[in-house]
Subunit: 717 residues, 2 copies
């Protein structure tokens, strides 16, 4: 197109009238609008403050952030209510910014992201432009021409120039930052009627729509599964500008059919951001991640409303909107709210499925596997195994084949997440801290195997980007017998590691059992450290163990130097049990290995002079061997309630795991305890779905499918 | 009396009929009865199991406990419904027990409490008799005479004999165990019509009602304030048999007027058990205590109903009952439920007052002071200071003048409680663990001063029992300016310690400020270790500090050997600040001392081979001096929410405390930070309520009352 009439970006006049009528409704859209209005009215009661720049979490930072949120809201409330005070506040704020913006010095940078004039990183400045220009679009028609020019020429234009020219290399990266940059410039273009800005946003600075720009972002950022390989925490962030700009385009440029673009990539990206939700709604903290970020954040509120209107009225979105407690305050949110009310506001819970989130633009670079099994009392267990790519360099962890487990309402096998205290100004302005590199990214910080004390790829991100894991099998059709197997090769040169993770339900157990078989094959002898991080109070330890009299770091290598070695012992037979109490439930980790195994208990926090790390416990199973196998079972059992002094089943049913057979393709385990024994057969092979038969000196086991668990009623071995 | 007709202990026929009519009501009593019936019906669907003895938390222990609870419930439901299955289950169980009881060997003891035949301690056996005999009383009239004799002769009689004769010394102690023993025997007496048992219960084995028995317990166990000096956790336990037996007596022996006995001591004991509730309902964990025990436990459910009916329809009890979610299932509970329904089930919150819980039978042996101040958002801050007695020997801690602080919904300055994993069978059957003595009882485990590394009274309980703290002043009339001061003398020979704790609200601060002034006066030089235990992630430390490269225990002395020394530094000027993030809020502890002070950071967990201790952080302020003063301010500030990436006011307003003046009676502090300064005047003297004037070289301050906080607008000092 060659002309673009400046217009309100998100709210047509007819829609504004419909929303105005909904403000006093007893409905989700009504509550959403009243909450927003109350916040906005409190803001309007305060003086107008346009500060300079400041660090993350500081007063200036928070004020700029609040200003852009309120600019956006005030614009919409002006459209809905016609009350001049809303338009006046937008005008006053934008003129205030326009007056000083070009004269502000660049801010003090805190991160690899370059600084803006308002914020310590341009990322935040782009968010500012996106929301502030959308707010401007609502009042533009009301403003005198001279003030429009003042704002567009001395505020928006230099911002666009800063993003697209001063920082042109950042503008064009295929990355969530690039998504924000192009969406901000595009929305500013629609708000002001600048075709050149919109084209820049859509097609990038080279104008081809393939190497850069929003369309290229959409085509390149997501795998066929919709997964964005920087990880769920950043995918949550990437879908915000994706959805905002897509919706703005659907209104300003319906000819683009943006929601259908690239096989409905917007929809795919949104749903793939929802899949890694833990059963409590927090996001699986793969790579750099805040652990409590959840599916109530902005992208999900946006997505529930927009997908419901623009794609299909998926009933699962009703559940999400009710959980969010709000909808997106536009015509889509109104439609979603009406649909929810028609259901009596009691949508059935979204039953998240087991799913594989493939990586790579073609979906051929491994995946993150997610197995889910229903527990009693309406909760769900979730095991995740990462056999995909390294992730985008800046926020990736050296954590190939890491395992996480969430059950009974909490993280049982924990991923540390990132070392960052977001927006806490005394913690370096809330930016990533040195321990993020020296601990959180390192392999030993994860529930996987560190070889010879050295992180995967020796911590070399470039090497890591050239390799990826692969799927061996993923079987989730039978909810009682699910299993996934991934493999990584040469993440440490000459070593192949295959990990099979089964999630099995059996009538003898109150909760699903997690079975974890790790196989290492190498061309030389190595030291293998299999780490598990947990949380809670140790109840039983059945393994040789000597507590340390004084605590020293576990080593001097990256990662290791941050772990206190609490004590250790040598299990000559490779067997042991560690059980702990976490919140109101017991957990037993029963392990076996095919040779002498050292058990080391650890606590995070050594060499942490600025108290940046959380002091969480973990364990390391250490083998010195050429090849090695670790077979671990995690059993959740019993209950404890201190207030009622109730404890039941503090001992689980399984006290011992024996490896009866193991090969590259099959493993048979015997699980036993005082009340019985069970056999587990695992086919960790590409041909897992078929029939399997394993015969050893004292057992012959046949089964169909990837995994089987059955009672072993033979006399004890 | 010489004759006592055997009768249902708790439910007259007319009451049973009234309750039966309430079962299907949509009311608290209806819900209570339906929940109880559902539990009972599940129990009736199971086979009858009468096991031998077993450890705490083990299968046998839990079965015996469940059996007595269900015997009690089944008896009442038989009275209410007339359904024979309830009576039949009571009959079958009691005959089962009667058949084996005399032949069972004594159980394996786990604690100083001697073993019974069913349980590892007779305390539990007494609880069994109380509830089982009450259940029996409901069905006795329905049983053939021969079966009555079987049960009374071969089960109840040998139990009574075991309590009163085999363990006669335990039967007569003035203690919560003695309360259970006499109440159990008394209720068995009422159930069976045995006057001799009832008299034994009331008047003790000497028959005088002064040295032993229930009446002596009531007269001797509680101070005039109603406080039971074993501490809130055990008072919670003591009020259960007190209330049960009192109610049984009111029905069987109305001539005793038991509720009026000893100036309504039952009422006083109940309300004093309610006062130490933390704002979340958990009980202040003084002495040996489980930290999550709360006011929803049995004694409070009982007390709300019985006090409402027998004493006065106190509206605060409506709030308690609604919080409990249940009432006591008798006529009293019915009355309380009806009163609650009449209020539309929305009782106003019980506003706990600031209060002093005096110790000693005459109330002249010090007290536990509790100051409460309302916070924003409906929460309450609570500071407690223990200047009372040592407590009853077995469960007492050497913690004179210990301070606890609860604010913003969590414990900020924490008391460890006891080292015990109640009913967790692998943890020594849930009994007290060795670390309870070696850590939790020791002075260094508490928020108070340890002198020369030696616990108060050198850990000698007998010496401790001979001394007690004293109240200097307690001022709570002005909710904005509350203060309490306690003193201990010779807890360490030759040393007097006075501690003033103020809870102050001021418009400049979002939350109440806690001000803590500790003064030590001695006849020789000493090492003073003032400890504070907190929870959370350190955000800022403004004081010299060097982290330790390897961690060693803080010392070899009791208590010290369980603390890891994380690092330390010498503040030559005695000043410093430590701030941390706990849950969603920031906390800053700003300290000053009158001389060089070493700051040591610690973590609990050294020398803990069986993982019995929780790994919680703390700090120690160490002074070497003759006399010494520590002045500390605790400021709560700001908010943090990771899910919304929000952080505000991560720095508090106060960064420095200066001691401008201090004497035995008055202290003036200057609190200052980047945004201003304040003066605090404290009159920690018996004459605190009057007028005060302090003049120093550069300040003259006059005020009325114990404490004042005002802005200091002078140019900075």
């Amino acid at each position: 197109v060659t002309a673009l009439p400046a217009a309100p970006v998100f709210l047509a006049p007819a829609e504004a009238a419909m929303l105005a009528a909904a403000i006093d409704q007893d409905s989700l859209i009504g509550r959403t609008l009243r909450t927003e209005r109350a916040t906005l009215d409190r803001f309007l009661a305060e003086p107008i403050v346009v500060p300079g720049s400041g660090p993350g979490g500081g007063v200036a930072h928070e004020q700029h952030k609040r200003n852009y949120q309120m600019l956006f809201a005030a614009g919409r409330f002006w459209q809905m209510t016609g009350e001049p005070r809303y338009a006046q506040r937008v005008r006053a704020l934008l003129l205030g910014y326009a007056e000083i913006f070009e004269h502000l010095p660049y801010a003090q940078p805190f991160s690899p992201n370059p600084p803006g004039r308002l914020f310590h990183q341009i990322l935040n400045e782009q968010m500012w432009l996106l929301f502030a220009s959308a707010g401007y679009s609502s009042v533009r028609a009301w403003l005198p021409q001279a003030e429009r020019e003042q704002i567009e020429t001395h505020l928006f234009a230099p911002m666009v120039a800063m993003f697209a020219h001063t920082y042109s290399s950042h503008f064009d990266i295929i990355h969530n930052h690039g998504m924000w940059a192009s969406s901000a410039v595009g929305i500013a273009g629609i708000a002001t009627g600048r075709v050149d800005w919109l084209d820049l946003a859509l097609y990038g600075q080279f104008g081809d729509g393939r190497r850069a720009g929003f369309l290229a972002q959409l085509a390149l950022l997501f795998s066929p599964s919709g997964y964005y390989e920087e990880g769920p925490y950043y995918q949550r962030f990437a879908i915000q500008p994706m959805l905002l700009f897509a919706e703005a385009l659907q209104r300003a440029r319906p000819d683009l059919n943006i929601y259908e673009y690239h096989d409905h990539v917007v929809r795919r990206g949104f749903y793939a951001a929802l899949h890694p939700a833990l059963p409590d709604g927090a996001l699986l903290p793969l790579n750099d991640a805040l652990k409590r970020m959840n599916i109530d954040s902005l992208g999900y509120v946006l997505g529930a409303s927009l997908m419901f209107r623009r794609e299909a009225p998926d009933p699962r979105l009703l559940w999400l909107a009710q959980r969010n407690g709000q909808v997106w305050p536009d015509a889509a949110g109104l439609a979603l709210s009406d649909a929810l009310a028609a259901q009596g506001d009691t949508p059935p819970r979204y039953h998240f499925p087991s799913v594989e989130l493939t990586s790579g633009t073609q979906g051929d670079r491994g995946a993150v596997g997610l197995l889910r099994a229903d527990e009693a009392h309406g909760t769900q267990a979730l095991a995740s195994l990462d056999y995909g790519t390294h992730g985008l360099a800046e926020h990736a962890h050296f954590d190939g084949l890491t395992l996480s487990y969430f059950a009974r309402g909490h993280e049982v096998l924990r991923d540390y997440g990132s070392v960052r205290w977001i927006n806490i100004e005394p913690k370096q302005g809330g930016s990533y801290l040195p321990e993020n590199l020296s601990f959180a990214k390192q392999t030993i910080a994860h529930n996987t195997v560190t070889i010879d004390g050295i992180s995967q790829h020796s911590g070399d991100a470039e090497r890591a980007s050239g390799l990826h894991g692969s799927r061996v099998q993923f079987s989730a059709d039978d909810g009682d017998r699910q299993m996934m197997t991934g493999e990584i090769r040469d993440f440490t040169p000459g070593v192949a590691m295959r990990r099979a993770v089964a999630l099995v339900r059996h009538a003898d157990f109150d909760h699903p059992l997690l079975i974890d078989v790790v196989r290492l094959q190498a061309d030389a002898a190595h030291r293998y450290d299999l780490a598990y991080y947990y949380d809670g109070q140790i109840i039983r330890l059945l393994a040789p163990y000597t507590p340390a009299d004084t605590l020293s770091p576990l080593g001097t290598a990256p990662g290791y130097r941050h772990l206190w070695r609490l004590g250790s012992g040598n299990a000559e037979d490779g067997h042991g049990l560690l059980s702990w109490l976490q919140d109101g439930g017991y957990h037993s980790l029963i392990f076996a290995s095919d040779g002498p195994t050292e058990l080391i208990l650890t606590r995070i926090g050594a060499n942490d002079p600025n108290f940046n790390l959380r002091a969480e416990p973990g364990l390391v199973l250490r083998r010195h061997s050429h090849d090695a196998v670790f077979a671990t079972v995690l059993e959740c059992h019993g209950v404890f309630d201190e207030a009622t002094e109730l404890s039941r089943n503090a001992r689980g049913r399984i006290e011992r795991v024996q490896i009866l057979h193991t090969s590259a393709t099959h493993t048979v385990l015997r699980l036993s305890g005082p009340s019985g024994a069970w056999l587990a057969g695992l086919a960790h092979t590409e041909a897992a779905e078929g029939a399997h038969h394993v015969a050893t000196a004292d057992i012959a086991l046949s089964w169909q499918g990837a995994v089987v668990l059955l009672r072993d009623d033979r006399p004890s071995l």
